[in-house]
């Protein structure tokens, strides 16, 4: 892999250029262009948006109908690219008769690691995913969370530059999720690109530095959450403010053109609709200091992945919004 100086532009570990993918007459991906750089990138979209297709293209399981998919400069379909890719598939399939340790060792051998190197690497990754002390049990008896960890371990074996995780948090208990998210952050910190597809949008807020929003095979938005939120001009940012004199603050804010709506929320709270946020926040700080308001709370209400996702769905297909709740997994899963 060509490594570039950290002072230059960030290198793209994986690239999709004008990629379209057809399943017979169905267009699963439509002219998608993106670059994955070191760090964690979230992949979000409703069912049928093309997330799995995009992941399979990136991991060389599928070939694009049009366009090119490259990982570390190599065609993702080719075997040479696979040495740079770690893939944690969503399918819950293993060689069930093996133990977790046997399975990971076998995968190490398939990746060309043998002898002491393979043993050490296996123990390292099992330790990393928190399975070193439980890996001798048969895979058939593992919980969903343990199976996810073993899948992650086999994906990390060959120290890939691109780690692709399809719904890695499915079935993992809350404590396990926190540990997994921490591990992914550490992996990304080592200069790896991590692509995570998940329907658990709350966790994307904490995890992903960048988010790709897919809908009906099209990449409808990408960037940091703040960047994507800023692009949504039709939806003023909702800001919750709690202060000692809410009525007085509301009267002062009403004079500013960046404030498009004010709603009293009882007690000491105001819900503001502001646009553009970049002009609002400096003005608000200045006002609060000058007028001596005691600001007890300042919170953006709709800049989460979930809120941005909702707005994007409304923008791209209004009817889709009403179906979104049913398209995503039940709230109990989150």
């Amino acid at each position: 892999m060509n490594r570039q100086s950290s002072t230059g532009p960030r290198p793209a570990i994986a690239e999709l250029n004008g990629v379209s993918k057809f399943y017979g007459p169905v267009m699963a991906l439509n002219d998608v262009t993106l670059r994955l750089q070191p760090g964690i990138t979230g992949l979000v979209g409703p069912n049928g948006a093309g997330k799995s297709t995009l992941i399979r293209l990136l991991t060389g399981q599928l070939r694009p109908g049009l366009g090119k998919v490259r990982v570390c400069g190599r065609d993702a379909w080719r075997a040479a690219a696979k040495a740079h890719i770690g893939y944690c598939a969503d399918a819950d399939a293993f060689y069930e008769e093996m133990s977790g340790r046997q399975f990971v060792r076998l995968m190490a051998r398939f990746h060309g690691l043998f002898g002491a190197t393979a043993r050490k690497r296996c123990e390292d990754v099992l330790e990393e995913v928190g399975m070193a002390d439980r890996a001798d049990r048969p895979l058939a008896g593992y919980s969903k969370g343990m199976r996810q960890r073993i899948k992650l371990a086999q994906a990390l074996l060959h120290d890939p530059d691109l780690l692709v995780l399809d719904e890695p948090l499915n079935g993992v208990d809350p404590l396990g999720r926190i540990e997994l998210l921490k591990q992914l952050t550490e992996i990304a910190g080592r200069g790896k690109a991590v692509l995570v597809s998940s329907h658990i949008l709350d966790e994307m807020d904490r995890l992903a530095q960048r988010v790709l929003f897919l809908c009906r095979g099209r990449l409808i938005a990408s960037g940091t959450l703040a960047e994507v939120r800023d692009m949504l001009d039709d939806h003023p940012l909702k800001v919750c403010v709690a202060c000692n004199a809410p009525r007085a603050l509301a009267a002062r804010l009403a004079l500013h053109e960046t404030v498009h709506g004010i709603q009293m929320q009882g007690g000491d709270r105001l819900i503001l609709q502001v646009r553009p946020p970049k002009e609002f926040f400096p003005m608000f700080s200045e006002l609060a200091c000058q007028e001596d308001f005691e600001i007890r709370r300042l919170e953006i209400l709709d800049a989460s992945t979930e809120a941005v996702f909702d707005y994007l769905m409304q923008a791209t297909h209004p009817a889709a919004e009403s179906r979104r709740v049913s398209a995503m997994q039940p709230a109990a899963d989150r």
Binding site: R56, T59, G60, Q61, L62, R63, A79, A80, K82, A83, I85, Y87, A89, A91, D92, A93, F94, Y95, E97, L106, M107, R109, F110, H111, G112, L113, F114, Q154, H158
Partner: protein, 251 residues
Amino acid sequence: MTTALAVVQMMLTAVRRMIWSRQTMISLLLLALVSLGCIAWSLRGERDAGDFLQQVLLPMYVAFLLPISCLGFATVGIAGDREEGTLVYLLSTPLPRPLIYTAKFAAALLLALVWSLGGLWVLGTAGGPAGREAVAVAWPAALLATLAYVGLFQWFGAVFRRATIMALGYALFLEVFLGNMPGIIKRVAITFYTQCILFEAAAPLGLPPSGPHSAAIFQPIAGSTAQMILILLAAGFFVLGAVCFSRREYP
């Protein structure tokens, strides 16, 4: 070097998993049933090797047991991983797809050869002296037929989602039905070439016989030609399968 070791490891893993598979149990059961038939046959008076070939090996082994055993091992190599969802692990390794196919082919061939030649030996032993004499003549034909069947059925595994069902349909319809049709239509069946090799090798034992397998009706080709065709079929199916497996998407 590490690539070669990885391919060998993949082959050994496939062998280990196939040995303890449902296919082995089914093949074992069928072999046991046919062996019982052989024992019963051998108890019925004076029989010679020609009789054993004609009455036991041709209908029970060549036309039935051999293709069924081969399809069990050859289709499960890739189709089994597809059905279980574990193929993604193999396709995520940095091994070129033709090598993955080769590893699976080698595993299936190894087991199918052990099974077909071992099964032939068991049947010969069960058939008594006549059976043992017939086996000494029949094993080259069984060996070449196994090569061709494994090549064919492994290709089925690479191409069809339900490869075992497709292969069963092929074995029971094309091999049994068309393979016993009069005229040259039977030449589409691997069984035909296996029988041609057998007939030439067993000529001193009185084959080809009279009746439905008489030379006039069966119209055999030369044994050496049949051998060459089976070798070419095996090689051709292997290459075809490797190409299909290398190009095909397995979503």
